[in-house]
Symmetry: C2
Subunit: 431 residues, 2 copies
């Protein structure tokens, strides 16, 4: 294989060997946090399942002779070579949405370890260290704010705000972290850790069917749509479902229903996607008119003006519906990620490297957020996508063909080989 800067490596990717290693590694990870009935995963931070995932990561690193560090924000770092600034970083996350799939996150971590194996098998001699990172709380499933590990590290989230976040049982992130042996008081902007990353490449299963349409097993990310989360709180009056006349009710479920339907039609108007996927009803009793409904809106579009337009119009609709039912409506932003255009020279370099390796990788945007998106504000960052035959994600039905996963490992190994062996000044210089 010839890298774009002209040096030649002897990376002879052996698909059969990678496949065997993939099978074995995947099998050790698969049972952790899996619901036996639904087949979905519940991998939430600071739980027993999370501890098992961290132990799995440490074990995979240790058996490869890598040193593992945990940074101030709970992210795990496995080092090939002496930790120093300007390393080539890869990895992803091991947590899941509630009832999530097996691939979203773990595929990137597993592929990183297997790509390292391929590099070693090929005798690649890096001129800078490689580090594989397991990012903490990427999905935001427990504490509501996605990409928390990368947001804290890069200073994009105030640590006081993060520590005060609570889960559905009212447990604060600070208490959960301390109970899991990660000092919550140490969390926050970690310039030392960040300086160690010279360039970051995250491999991820595609969450959509772009690669199916383009008949490609691997793609390169161009951009992440701007996206955010807003909490809609409808406060009415709890009362008896059997004895309260309709005209006497202040039932928050009704304006919530109007808001769900409006979210769909307003998203269509703005060429956006909008979802109410999470709802909390208080007290949630069959024979009780709710006192309050909390619902979380996820909205994304190709440009920021469209997202803002959806939230503006929907807030107005929700407020009007609330007024009609004597229900108070509050809308608060819980997270916001501006549009991410990935580092153009690095992206072009990945496409060229893959092309040289015989892999034709289309360039495509995504509506999904990633730690790579957060890091891209601080360091040159790129993403590789692996084909998803159904496009389904955040579901037990999420899937990737093993042959495509192997292609992903080969692609990542090619990219890492290039980045680890090229002169520093060329790595992100757009060659």
């Amino acid at each position: 294989m010839t890298s774009p800067n002209g040096s030649t490596t002897n990376l002879s990717a052996d698909p059969a060997a990678i496949r065997r290693s993939f099978d074995h590694t995947w099998a050790t990870l698969s049972p952790i946090g899996r619901d036996r009935v639904s087949g979905g995963y519940n991998r939430f931070p600071f739980t027993a399942v999370d501890l098992s995932l961290r132990e799995w990561f440490t074990a995979e690193a240790t058996k490869r002779g890598l040193d593992v560090e945990v940074d101030r924000n709970g992210n795990q770092w496995a080092w090939w070579g002496t930790p120093t600034s300007g390393a080539v970083a890869t990895g992803s996350h091991l947590d899941s949405v509630p009832g999530g799939g097996a691939f979203d996150g773990p595929l990137g971590v597993v592929s990183s370890f297997l790509a390292l194996d391929a590099l070693r098998a090929a005798g690649v001699t890096p001129v800078r260290p490689l580090v594989i990172i397991n990012f903490f709380e990427e999905e935001g499933s427990r504490f509501g704010l996605a990409c928390l590990g990368s947001r804290l590290m890069t200073g994009q989230t105030n640590p006081d705000t993060a520590r005060a976040l609570t889960d559905n049982d009212g447990i604060s992130l600070a208490d959960a972290a301390d109970a899991a042996g990660i000092r919550a008081q140490d969390m926050g902007h970690d310039a030392d850790a960040l300086a160690k990353i010279g360039v970051f490449v995250e491999l991820h299963v595609e969450q959509g069917k772009n690669l199916v349409d383009q008949n490609a097993s691997v793609g390169v990310a161009s951009a992440i749509w701007p996206h955010g989360r807003w909490r809609f709180t409808f406060t009415g009056e709890g009362n008896h479902a059997g004895t309260t006349a309709l005209v006497d009710r202040r039932d928050p479920m009704l304006p919530f229903a109007t808001t769900i339907l409006a979210a769909r039609s307003i998203a269509e108007t703005h060429d956006a996607v909008s979802t109410f996927g999470r709802v909390r009803v208080d007290p949630n009793g069959t024979n009780a008119i709710p006192a309050r409904v909390d619902a979380w809106l996820d909205t994304r579009a190709a440009d920021e003006a469209s997202v803002s337009g959806v939230v503006r119009d929907l807030s107005a609709e929700a407020s009007a519906a609330g007024t009609a039912h004597g229900v108070e409506v509050e809308v608060s932003q819980e997270s916001w990620t501006p549009v991410i255009d990935f580092h153009r020279p690095l992206r072009d370099r990945l496409v060229a490297t893959l092309d040289t390796a015989g892999i034709s990788a289309p360039v495509l945007p995504t509506g999904a957020g990633h730690d790579a998106g957060i890091l891209s504000n601080a360091v040159p960052t790129a993403m590789l996508f692996v084909r998803n035959p159904t496009g389904v994600s955040h579901s037990p039905r999420e899937y990737a063909e093993e042959v495509d996963c192997v292609d992903g490992v080969i692609a990542l190994a090619a990219v890492l080989t290039d980045l680890l062996t090229s002169p520093a000044e060329t790595v992100t210089a757009g060659q």
Copy 2:
């Protein structure tokens, strides 16, 4: 006081004494299962809170020298006199809806103990025993089926069905009962227990403002509206909220929203009340289109045809909305209580007794279900209501003025005195 059959008792109700005793007794019960933040109660069967409530009941009975039995279905019975058939029974329940009020259930139990105290203070000599019953799982908050203790005892619920009911954590009623020391295998129709009840009178806080409108502290029930619970299951396809195009979605939240709004308009059409108070979203993640939404409909009206009409029309609307979104909709009945017309001679007897005691008690229907409604299919049954100044129930804001609670105790004592001292043939014979 003169009872309707002409005998004279020396019941000299002392409001000040009852009030002091009410204060004291209420204070011992109030802290159990109370949420310190909301002030609402979470008193669910077979929990540590439930065990505390049972211990409280036993302690109140024991300090009055009453023997306590637990029947095969988990109901507690406190006996004044030797247990035998044909007793005068009173009482209510101690469990609550999620975030419920302090009065719904407990007021009837506390008033029963205080009425007994008043009877003893007055030197009433009963010709039959009195029994105070704490019914199990009246609200159906944990296992979904209301009035479970009385339904099982009277054979109105199949015990196999009951044992297989599960709570939100998937724990079966059978397992929860066994863990709490109540043998689930013994549950079911209990003719021996039922035969012990000659007549049943339940006192309850009103759940509505009828007594406010009629300027009365105490009322007598005429009927309970027919009512039922139906589970609406919307099954779509879980997927990523950011990467799934609107046209590719099968989002169950949308037909659910249409169904919420239709429930209100259809209830108006049928002169009924309909409520979606309980919702379960799977997986309930902000960035995941739900795979499934379960929602429970509570519907009631003055006549059964109206209730059936609501469910028929709403099922059709839900199904059509489901089809429009590629979502499967299933509707299943979880409980059904036909209209209850309380025993007319007994009801008239209560009104006459109260009138003689100087209490003008209006007769009124209610939309709320009660164990008294279940028992009325098996034995002569009546209810007393105590004024609720706001009408609010199933909410931390549920309330009754203490002066009205004292009136309730006096009314119950008058009724019990009459029933305990009259010849057997006259008790429910319409005299």
